[in-house]
């Protein structure tokens, strides 16, 4: 047909300008995609949470531990299949910059609760047999170049002293958003040391993680557990693992909000660039539009001509930006190491990217499109000189 060919020719008239605009759109669409993926990554922990897991912690705040003796009473609540527990260890690996989560966990039960951590049977056995053993995610091991059998020193911050662990296993995530940046070791090892050096701090647990037989029991079981310890020295707060993880995100939700606002801003910026390009093109071609009208073309044809060009350029940029998002996300994920886990570009993000490009194309094309459709033949021809 005549119209598409004309649109394409017009788009190619100022190759440099069209090229720059496509590039600008690609960058904006890419930035939007990456920022959305960053926000998704923050929620990845919550998304990966199992529906049958509950987390019990001290009601005052996470800083306060619970006595290990709670474990037996929790296990006896109807509907609870298995109970494990962990302590946030803190600590420093060489320098403060090397941040990754370190947990002391009840080794026997903890790995059973997290089947998404794929650990070879031999490594699992080696870990269970070595009190100083540690298990880490694949990404973490890669970041620091750790090998099995290697010893890893941590300087204690919450638990003073120098700690030495031997790497016994490296797990892979079963899901793309499984966190491969965690360092796990034996709670028993921590507790023995505390018994010797700080007996008042021994036999304390950071959180209990429990696995339910049926996900529907979550509300009832939470209520029963918290009632059990009401008015005791260590009151508990039990919530689903998802809610527990979301609690962390909500603490930095202003930052999440800021990132979301900023990712909208990039769309506005590129809308400006695109509107500018289309406005210029239309301004230059007013005499041509007038000529076309003089020849008998209807305003609708002119509107399609302008809008078509705008949408074509925008979609080109959108496609390029979306296509670049996957490799860019991979590079970003490699750069930031273990800071974000489960850094995966979702399908929703990609669809949104294309929709945004389309929207920018339509919005930017609208004013010049109206201008072209409304131009008077005399005025347009007069603007020739």
């Amino acid at each position: 047909m005549y119209l598409p060919r004309l649109i394409l020719r017009n788009a190619l008239r100022h190759r440099l300008r069209t090229g720059l605009t496509v590039l600008g759109l690609a960058i904006a669409v890419l930035a939007f995609g990456l920022l959305r993926t960053v926000v998704d990554a923050w929620y990845a922990g919550a998304d990966a949470a199992s529906a049958t897991h509950l987390v019990t912690r001290n009601a005052i705040s996470l800083v306060f531990p619970l006595p290990l003796t709670h474990r037996e009473r929790i296990r006896r609540v109807a509907g609870v299949r298995k109970v494990s527990y962990s302590n946030w260890f803190g600590g420093v690996y060489i320098t403060e910059r090397n941040f990754f989560p370190r947990f002391a966990v009840d080794a026997g039960t903890y790995l059973d609760l997290y089947p998404d951590y794929l650990l070879p049977a031999a490594e699992r056995k080696a870990f269970l047999l070595d009190r100083r053993g540690a298990v880490v995610g694949r990404k973490l091991a890669q970041t620091y170049g750790w090998r099995l059998g290697q010893s890893i020193p941590l300087r204690g911050t919450i638990y003073p002293g120098s700690w030495e662990f031997v790497l016994r296993g490296i797990y892979d995530g079963r899901q793309p958003n499984t966190d491969e940046g965690i360092f796990l070791f034996h709670w028993d090892y921590l507790n023995e040391t505390l018994r010797r050096n700080a007996p008042r701090r021994a036999d304390q647990v950071g959180v209990f993680v429990l696995d339910l037989m049926h996900a529907e029991d979550a509300a009832r079981v939470s209520g029963e557990i918290d009632a059990l310890f009401k008015s005791s020295l260590a009151e508990t707060l039990t919530e689903t693992e998802k809610a527990f993880q979301l609690g962390f995100v909500s603490m930095i939700d202003t930052i999440v909000l800021a990132v979301q606002v900023v990712s909208l801003m990039v769309v506005v910026i590129v809308l400006f660039v695109m509107a500018n390009t289309m406005g210029m093109a239309a301004g230059e071609r007013l005499p041509e539009y007038a000529t076309l009208k003089a020849l008998g073309f209807r305003p609708g044809f002119l509107a399609l001509l302008v809008l078509g060009e705008s949408v074509l350029i925008a979609l080109l940029g959108g496609l390029a930006g979306t296509a670049l998002t996957l490799p860019a996300a991979a590079a970003f994920s490699a750069q930031t190491g273990t800071l974000f886990h489960g850094f995966a570009v979702s399908h929703t993000t990609m669809v949104l990217q294309l929709l945004i490009a389309l929207g920018v194309g339509v919005l930017a094309g609208l004013p010049p499109c109206l201008r072209a459709a409304r131009i008077s033949i005399i005025a347009g021809l007069a603007s020739l000189n």
């Binding site: 440099l16 720059l20 005052i60 803190g90 403060e96 911050t157 930052i255 500018n276 210029m280």
Partner: protein, 388 residues
């Protein structure tokens, strides 16, 4: 002789729509850039203001935060008795054994929980932290379950207003006053009587001891003395440096995220400027030919177009900065990754930030304008005169 600024500026005015769209894009980028720097500045100011240079904070060795630390009562007494510690009006040493814990409170509005620092202090704390005052109500009575809420806490957390009752650690606490700490981190804390809070939380040890130094430089001798004392495993830090350190991770995060975003966005804005300036050159080809015929040299044409796009960037930068400066009345609160505690701070616009933002705008203009300007300067006179 360069082409006059009026010529440069009027060309921008002549293309009002294009100029507005291009400068608008740049303004948004500068806005993001400035707000990011202002946020970081606000964070620094809040945390730097928190600590005094003539206060020393003594914690258990190798604890990163007060919350991780524990200092027994005996150790606290030893620390307070050091000769580097200043004397109060009543002749006793100015030292405050403090217990610092986090409690989870629901935020105003969203009801989502956030961690708030509860600091148990000794009566001397107000003599040691001179910047902290009780503005509404009164100070807590020793031995009672009374607490003081920081200004930011009272603003952001439900049920922390004057006279309200808070339940934690199996007790009912009454808010009897509001603290004003001039935007420092203490504004994001709840203070109470150390002895009462230790009982309630079943703590036998302080978290840290804060002392007023006789003079700022005496920190070194205090540190040496404490660290060589065989009875103690503690370290002494300047309070101001401790709080500065507390901001490091969050500050680095804000700066890295902000800078990356600004850079990527500026690429978009620079491209916008390039589109605009290339079209300006194309539209004014005959004009450029005329100027060259009149005897202006290539470098003067270059200067005029580079100047035009730099001005474009400056205008964009100025508007972005203006929008950013409106953020100064707002405050931002988030969890500090290092202490896990909620901290509230403002957007602070310093002259350095204003200058950096404008320079960033001009730089974007220059980067976007240089190629088109070179193109303009390279145009052949005769060929461009034929383009009338």
């Amino acid at each position: 002789m360069a082409l006059p600024l009026t010529y440069i500026a009027r060309n921008l005015v002549a293309r009002r729509l294009t100029t507005a769209l291009t400068a608008g894009g740049m303004a948004l980028v500068v806005y993001v850039f400035a707000v990011m720097l202002m946020l970081d500045e606000g964070l620094h100011q809040a945390l730097v203001q928190t600590g005094a240079a003539d206060n020393a904070l003594v914690t258990r060795r190798s604890s990163e935060t007060e919350i991780q630390s524990a200092v027994s009562r005996q150790d606290a007494a030893v620390i307070a008795s050091q000769p580097e510690v200043a004397l109060g009006p009543d002749g006793r040493r100015l030292a405050s054994g403090e217990v610092v814990v986090l409690i989870s409170l629901p935020r105003q509005g969203s009801g989502k929980p956030a961690n708030v620092v509860i600091r148990g202090v000794s009566p001397d704390a107000f003599l040691i932290r001179r910047g902290v005052r009780v503005v509404h109500g009164r100070i807590f009575r020793a031995g009672s379950a009374e607490i003081l809420a920081g200004a930011a806490v009272a603003r952001q957390f439900a049920g922390t207003a004057l006279g309200a009752h808070l339940r934690f650690a199996q007790r009912e606490w009454t808010v009897v006053g509001e603290l004003d700490a001039h935007g420092s981190a203490f504004d994001s804390e709840i203070w109470g009587d150390a002895q009462q809070l230790m009982q309630a939380f079943r703590r036998s040890a302080y978290s840290a001891v804060v002392v007023k130094l006789v003079a700022e430089p005496r920190l070194e001798s205090l540190r040496a003395r404490l660290e060589s004392d065989p009875r103690l495993t503690v370290e002494a830090r300047r309070e101001s440096e401790y709080y500065e350190g507390q901001s490091r991770l969050l500050s680095r995060f804000i700066l890295i995220l902000g800078t990356t975003i600004s850079l990527v966005f500026s690429a978009g804005a620079i491209i916008g400027a390039m589109v605009t300036m290339y079209s300006a050159v194309a539209k004014r080809t005959a004009e450029i030919g005329t100027l060259r015929a009149l005897g202006f040299r290539r470098r003067e044409i270059l200067g005029a177009f580079v100047g035009e796009s730099a001005l474009l960037g400056f205008v964009g930068g100025a508007f972005g900065l203006l929008a950013a400066s409106a953020m100064q009345s707002l405050s931002f609160s988030t969890m500090n990754f290092q202490s896990f505690a909620e901290i509230s701070f403002g957007f602070v616009l310093s002259p350095r930030i204003a200058l950096l933002s404008l320079a960033f705008g001009v730089l974007m203009g220059l980067l976007g304008g240089t190629l088109p300007a070179l193109h303009a300067a390279r145009l052949d006179i005769v060929a461009s005169l034929r383009k009338v």
